[in-house]
Symmetry: C2
Subunit: 341 residues, 2 copies
């Protein structure tokens, strides 16, 4: 029994019969103390369940064990899945990750970086908003805090970038679509939030031209992050107006494609590769829900696992060794053939 409530490390050191600095050492690394000492501490730990005050720790340590994970829109399952993957790796490595989402708002992104700065994190994994980001703010942040960018590229900012090789997506899916049917038209938003969209458009155009087909890019209106709704309403308008020269539509991303599938349904346009279908639709990302659309969506899968693993590993290497060379790692997409195209 003895004292019921341990108030601080001093009292805990007393009841465990060890000096406070040694106890402190134990909490920073249990391996760093003698085995017998460790045992005594852990025995006491079971009896009194004391835990060091995290604020006092972080105030005095030069570097905290905190990590920041920032994504542009957490309600998008693509980012949620990526964040989940990254978060779990950070926890496994003994860090304390915190999840932030800008929810499409640049001001909020700035606020997040601002408050993140005062958390003195050991590192940050940042997927910027993209076009609407305040690049000066991000750049300044990256100068103060070890940061790895992912998903959305910004040149020469941060310790490195990890993402997909979007320029490879075009050839891959265009080749497949051309081989199995008509060369595709391309559907995208007029002012895409994410810079990957531009790379994908260029990749599409290049791939079409290299295989001797004329590219057709259909750009629709729409702001914000409600891609499905934009794909449905604006993509639907384009479909109704007969704007697509091809019976095959390659969408800039899966969410747009998911909305476009809905538009096709609403207009009684049968989607798929069977003979009784009028249109083929493909996306890019392999969004978690693309497996479950009707018909299931043919797409290019981003390598969630490799991206998150590489991003985390690169950050850890940078934290430990303080490597300074800006490294860019791109992973290839994989063609996922389903029934929509």
């Amino acid at each position: 029994m003895a004292k019921d409530t341990i108030r601080n490390m001093e009292e805990f050191a007393a009841v465990s019969g060890i000096s406070r600095p040694t106890v402190s050492k134990y909490f920073n690394d249990p391996e760093s103390v003698r085995q017998s000492t460790r045992q005594r501490i852990e025995d006491a730990l079971e009896k009194y369940d004391y835990r060091p005050n995290i604020y006092a720790i972080n105030q005095n340590r030069k570097l905290t064990k905190n990590l920041g994970i920032v994504v542009p829109y957490l309600a998008d399952p693509f980012f949620a899945e990526l964040a989940r993957n990254i978060e779990q790796r950070c926890v496994a490595a003994g860090f304390r990750p915190t999840l932030y989402s800008s929810y499409g708002d640049p001001d909020r992104e700035n606020d997040i970086l601002d408050s993140l700065r005062s958390l003195k994190p050991a590192g940050v994994l940042l997927a910027p908003l993209g076009r609407t980001s305040n690049q000066a703010v991000i750049e300044k942040f990256c100068n103060d805090v070890p940061t790895i960018l992912f998903d959305s590229f910004i040149p020469d900012v941060g310790l490195g970038f990890v993402g997909s090789d979007n320029s490879q997506f075009g050839p891959l899916i265009v080749e497949y679509l051309c081989r199995t049917g008509e060369p595709p038209s391309f559907l995208e938003m007029k002012t895409p939030a994410n810079p990957n969209a531009n790379k994908r458009r260029h990749a599409y155009i290049n791939a079409m031209e290299q295989s001797g087909h004329e590219p057709q890019v259909v750009q629709v209106d729409g702001e914000g992050w409600h891609f499905e709704e934009i794909g449905r309403s604006e993509g639907g308008k384009a479909l109704a107006a007969g704007l697509f020269k091809s019976n095959t539509v390659l969408c800039s991303n899966d969410r747009l494609a998911i909305g476009f599938l809905t538009a096709c349904y609403e207009q009684n346009v049968r989607v798929g590769r069977d003979s009784d279908c009028q249109i083929r639709v493909a996306g890019q990302d392999d969004h978690p829900f693309s497996r479950f659309t009707c018909p299931p969506l043919t797409t290019i899968a981003q390598d969630y696992d490799a991206i998150s693993r590489c991003a985390v590993e690169t950050l850890f290497k940078a934290i430990e060794g303080s490597e300074n060379k800006h490294e860019t790692r791109l992973f290839e997409g994989r063609l996922v053939m389903r029934d929509s195209a």
Copy 2:
């Protein structure tokens, strides 16, 4: 110019010509100091961009401005949307919310509560895992930290509960389905993670019996949080085996329904209410993607907005006034008629 880097509040107080305690008072509430004083501080703030050390603040304050938001699975857009809504309200109220997800793992849920405890948060909004939660741990946590539960109910735990009145969902959708076609069968997982599933099953059975129809509950295998996949594979098996006595299937939740729609597609079973359709499918939740399934999913909409608003408001009231009466607030669902049923 003067000193470039302000190291602490003492130095900042010096350059702004104010005493440190008054500066401290300003940062805790800018309104609490004289207008002229405030102006001088804010002038200095523009020149030196000093920010109080958050760890030192939280170490000394009895209560922090931190809030915890815990959900069972953040990669589920339903929870992501709820979390987004809640998070933004907390930020608007001047708090620092932090998002946590158990990702379906009870051990992780315990860890989250554990680390949340040491953050000394002003309050926590917790949506427990449900059946797999360690109730003793949650109950103990709620005794230490002001906590509002949401989505998943646990009797007599926390300061209150906010969620949907699941027992009202049954009558609502059963009445609609019966009025417009055959009385529905009910599709659910055998061992649902969430207690709401049980309430929904009972509500379905009651509603069926009260309107003079015989209920049929089809329970399928499947563990974890990949509901769509369970709906597709296991729901698909049930469909192929002809287990559903009715041509109308009410699913326990939208994600299950989304997967079941895929199964229907795979088996060439046409879904909808037109004469050429063989089956009607309905869900419950109004999942963000249900608008975009093919056909769009008829469902019961949970009132995301009201739930998140009420949860946050209840917590704030509890934090300020320290009300102790355990309050349960349930919001009604709304029938959303789309093409699937």
